[in-house]
Structures are given as structure tokens and as C-alpha cells.
Subunit: 329 residues, 2 copies
């Protein structure tokens, strides 16, 4: 089975680790090849080093190096380097980088500086985490730098004035506590899908969209020229998981992101963002809603409180995809 | 009193910390301004980060952050980042970088990447170490990158073949265990003295040369175009301390470096390297030798086993400089 997934950070990573748990527990699925297309719009250069939060969260989670308590960063990491950077007056301090994590950013920056593409660098980093042995290929959505910026009110500049800040400054630095007026993926017009991205979508047996943020994670991947067309054109069923339960995001600030698009925090609104390519749609029980022609809706428990429930949810998504595929054949 | 010193790493740093102890203990000298011109030929880019071993050793030692047991690196440092870089296959592993130390190299590289000169970066780093409050200005010998390379035999390439390797690969990686045939300061022809270097030599009351390596530390500083002329032309007496006691270097591999120049490991040989500008020369008791016209030789204990003996030696060097200056007036 060839499974391709688009993904952001924590929620996507937990879902995809669940998917691995699911396929590895099933002899018929054990040889599956899973290609993950990770959002790089969250990427940021900090202290001169290139940080790719979503790729790292995916890599650490699947490679069993993640700090479970926070869902990002390395397990039991220390903060020696960051403390010392602060002593030198280094900014910013609002982005938490552990010492083990710093090594990833140092070696990534070194390799990028040597002229390797982000795909090549990501492939090298993935070796340390044994992704290939787990049947996983991790691809950045694009080798060209893309950075999501957020338009927020600039209260110092007066009524009605706005300013654009880096996504991380809004998400992490401000906890998304200031209303987002719009998101701009800087560099997206020059971005091409990384090698293998379109092929992975076109040749997949099933395409999965985990319950990642539909605006600033999945939405940014979808905005890479060619990706959306590939999803529309692939013969594989595309199954997505609602990130909304009970009118609120399961995790993160999807509500604040949907609001910036003028959308309510509902599964309907998210399904609408995927309407042109969606085939299967998982929502929470009791949240069934009308979906457009041809989309198969299914209600299953969406919360991924432990690894087991993530595996069950991923299994539900995959099963729906397999069903839809069988019906087409 | 305006004191200017040329210096390499460990030996120079201990001597200069001794000089500070000496002047701060003497009310008449307490307001002295000490300018240190540090060797940057040892600089190396590791993991994409710019490392300046001699500047850092000077800064950490004077700023009370040095690991005394080894004479370099940060006190009680850990090796988390380097261990993780090794897990990613990062090379080399023979150069020891602690986590606190990494922060210095990260922030230096960030600032250099922003277009600051090495002088400006060094000034910023020095703020964290309180050098100005101690009356110390630390200058790199040049803002242009200079890297000392070592010509060694290339045994794999056959009899008589040689290759040039980075100084650190020879000094640290090989422990200087392979004979050096020659030293080349790559970039020296384009290097200009950093802002303030020539002025500090010209306007000093006394110029001191600590017992740093005369070939690969002091020798590289002397090879920056203009530095040697400034030493010849300054009205300040130039007092140097022999790094050789009993036919061997007090520390490090000066013997291997002198051999590359075809010189014996003797105070005479070192004094010969400084002959065109030397005014005062400190040697170990019993090692008095003939020195050329006008050089005042004095025998004093040269070993710097503890801070106190370093302060005494620095005081002896300064006293000789003050005497010579008084005689000229």
C-alpha cells in the first residue's frame, strides 16, 4: 500500500505515528510505503540557524525522539545553549530550543550552506531517525523557502494600521492571542513542489490529510503551485480528518486561523476548504453534516489521547480510503 | 598606563590574566588600559559555525569563564550538542566544543552573517564577559579571515609528497605528532590590521609579547601587513617573554613549530624571530644568552603554575618595560 499524507506538526505527527502503529500491527499492511509531505511555512531562521518545526516534529515523533509532554522538541532536552545565547543578548527567547534540538538546526544549516537542498538535508536527517526502516519518506513541501506571515493590528501605529509578522512570532511568541487578519505565504509564488511530492500524490493508493491545522499547515502545503491540482487529479481517494470537535480545535489555534478567513470553527468550514479534492471525511460522532457530492462522511472518535487512539483513528481513515478505492476499481 | 599585548591562546591568556591581577593590585596601575591583539590564524569553520579559539580562550580566561583544568573552553561545560552532531554524522569530532561554547560560535556566526566585522562581533561578545570593566579591549589581529595551514608529508601519496591541512587538524586532530614542513597563513596577503590594532601598538606606553607560540600565534599576528612595522616604529618598549624553558616549550608544540622553520627550541631562536623590534627579553634563570644590540635581557621565573606566578611574571615583564621607557625619557 502506498500512502501519502500532507501534514503539519504535532497533530499530524501523532496521527502519522498512529498510522505506522496501525500498519505495522497488520501483516497485510506492514510493507506499506508512507510518504509524508510536511509543511515548511512555519520554518524560521533563528540565531542564524534554519529551524523547520513541522519537519522536526514529524521526524522526532516518528523516530521516537519526541518530548511527549509538549509534543515538540527532543525528549529530556536541556537548555544550555539557549540560556547562554540569552546571556549574549541573543533574540528571540520566546522560541524554545533545546541542546539536542540545536544540533539538528546546526547540521541542517551547515548542509544547506554547503548547497544541499532542503529535501536532501531532510533525507540525511531522517537517516539518524530510522525513517526509511519504518517505511517512511519525509519530504518538505518545497525546497524553496516559504515563510508564513500573519497580518495583525499594529496598535502602536494607530487605529486601522496593520503589520505582518512571522507566523512563529504570532503562534509561539503571542500564543495567537492577537487576531490574525490574514496569512501570507511569503515565497509561495516562486516555490515548486519538492522532488517526489507530486509523484507521491499521483501514484498513491490512498492520500490522507491528518487533523492538522487546515489554514496554516495543510493550507500552506495546498498553496504550493501544483499540489492542489495533483490532489484533484490523483486516482487515489483523498481522506481527511476534521481537526474540529465541539466547535473548537482539538489542539492549537485553528479557530483563530479560520476566523482570519471569515470562517466559523466547524467541520463544515474545514471540509469546504478541501471540497475540490475531498473523497472521504471523518468527523466526530454527533457532528455529521451535509457534505457535497461524492464525499463519503463517517463519524469516528477523533481524540488522540494516547498512541492507541491515534492508531485507531489513523486506521479508520485508512480503512475509509481503502473502501473508496475498492469501490472505484 | 597603556599596555598593548599580542597574544595566542592558553599561555597568552594566563599571562594576561596575570597582568590584570598585577595591575589591579597596584593603585598606581589600576586605571591601566590593556589592549590585546589576538591571533585569528587558528580560526576554523566547524559545523558551519565560525570558531575563534584564541579570541575565545582570551575572553573566557579574562572573563573568569575558562575551564581551568584544560585551559580552553567553558567551565563545567557539557557535550550534548556535539554528541548529537556525531549522531547525525557531523564531522569533525576531534575538536571539542561544549554546549556553552557552542552558544558563542552560534551568536558569532549569526552576527558575522548579518555583516558585522569580526572586531564588532568580538566587541559584542566581550560585553558578556565584562572585559571593558576590567580595562581590557580585545581586538582580532584582522577582520579578514586568515587561516594557518600546515604542510605535512602525505604518506598515502608517496615518498616526498606533501599536503596542506588546517592548523587545527594538525594541532588538535593530530596532536602535532606529524612533522610540520611549513606554515602558510592563508589570506594574510589580503588581511589588514583590524581597526585599532596599529594605533594600539603606536600609542602604547609598553608593548608586551606573552610566552605564546612564537611561530603559529605571535608569528601569525606579526605577519599581518603593517603590524611588524608598527612594532619597529613604536616609541613604546617591546618586552617579550620566552616560551622556552630547559629546551622545551612551557606548553604546546612550539618545538615542532620552530623545527618547521629549521630553528632549535631555544630562547635564542625565539629572540631571533623578534630581533628587529625587541627591547626587553625575559628568559628563565640559567638561560641567559647573548642578545643583539640594545635588547635588555633579564632572567626571572617563567613558569605560570598558578595565578600568582602568572601575575608575578607579568609584573616582571611590565616592570622591565617601564624601566626601559623611563630610560628613554
Amino acid at each position: 500500500m502506498r500512502i501519502t499524507a500532507l501534514a503539519g506538526g504535532i497533530g499530524g505527527a501523532r496521527f502519522l505515528r498512529g498510522l505506522l502503529d496501525h500498519v505495522h500491527a497488520d501483516p497485510a499492511l506492514r510493507e506499506s510505503q508512507i510518504t509524508i509531505i510536511g509543511n515548511t511555512g512555519d520554518d524560521i531562521t533563528l540565531f542564524g540557524l534554519r529551524v523547520c518545526p513541522d519537519l522536526d516534529t514529524l521526524m522526532y515523533t516518528i523516530g521516537d525522539g519526541i518530548e511527549e509532554s509538549q509534543g515538540w522538541g527532543r525528549r529530556n532536552d536541556t537548555r544550555t545553549v539557549q540560556g547562554e545565547l540569552a546571556a549574549y543578548g541573543g533574540q528571540p527567547q520566546w522560541f524554545g530550543l533545546g541542546d539536542l534540538d540545536f544540533a539538528t538546526h546546526i547540521v541542517r544549516s551547515q548542509w544547506l550552506g554547503q548547497g544541499l537542498t532542503l529535501s536532501e538535508v531532510t533525507g540525511r536527517l531522517a537517516q539518524r531517525w530510522g525513517l526509511a526502516q519504518r517505511g517512511v519518506t519525509l519530504l518538505p513541501m518545497s525546497d524553496e523557502p516559504v515563510e508564513t506571515h500573519v497580518v495583525v493590528d499594529d496598535q502602536e501605529a494607530g487605529e486601522g494600521a496593520t503589520q505582518a509578522i512571522h507566523f512563529q512570532q504570532w503562534w509561539v511568541g503571542m500564543g495567537a492571542g492577537v487576531p490574525a487578519r490574514a496569512f501570507h505565504a511569503i515565497g509561495i509564488d516562486r516555490a515548486r513542489p519538492a522532488p517526489g511530492v507530486l509523484e507521491a500524490i499521483r501514484t498513491a493508493d490512498v492520500v490522507l490529510l491528518p487533523p492538522s491545522n487546515p489554514v496554516v499547515s495543510i493550507g500552506i502545503v495546498l498553496s504550493v503551485p501544483g499540489v492542489r491540482d495533483a490532489l484533484r487529479g490523483t486516482s487515489a481517494p483523498v481522506v481527511a480528518v476534521s481537526p474540529i470537535v465541539g466547535g473548537a480545535p482539538v489542539r492549537g489555534h485553528a479557530d483563530a486561523c479560520l476566523a482570519a478567513l471569515g470562517l466559523p470553527t466547524t467541520p463544515e468550514a474545514v471540509a469546504g476548504l478541501y471540497a475540490d479534492f475531498l473523497d472521504g471525511w471523518l468527523v466526530a460522532p454527533g457532528e455529521e453534516h451535509r457534505v457535497g457530492g461524492g464525499v463519503r462522511l463517517r463519524a469516528v472518535p477523533l481524540l488522540m489521547r494516547e498512541r492507541e487512539s491515534a492508531a485507531r483513528l489513523a486506521g479508520d481513515a485508512l480503512s475509509l480510503g481503502v473502501e473508496l478505492r475498492a469501490e472505484r476499481a
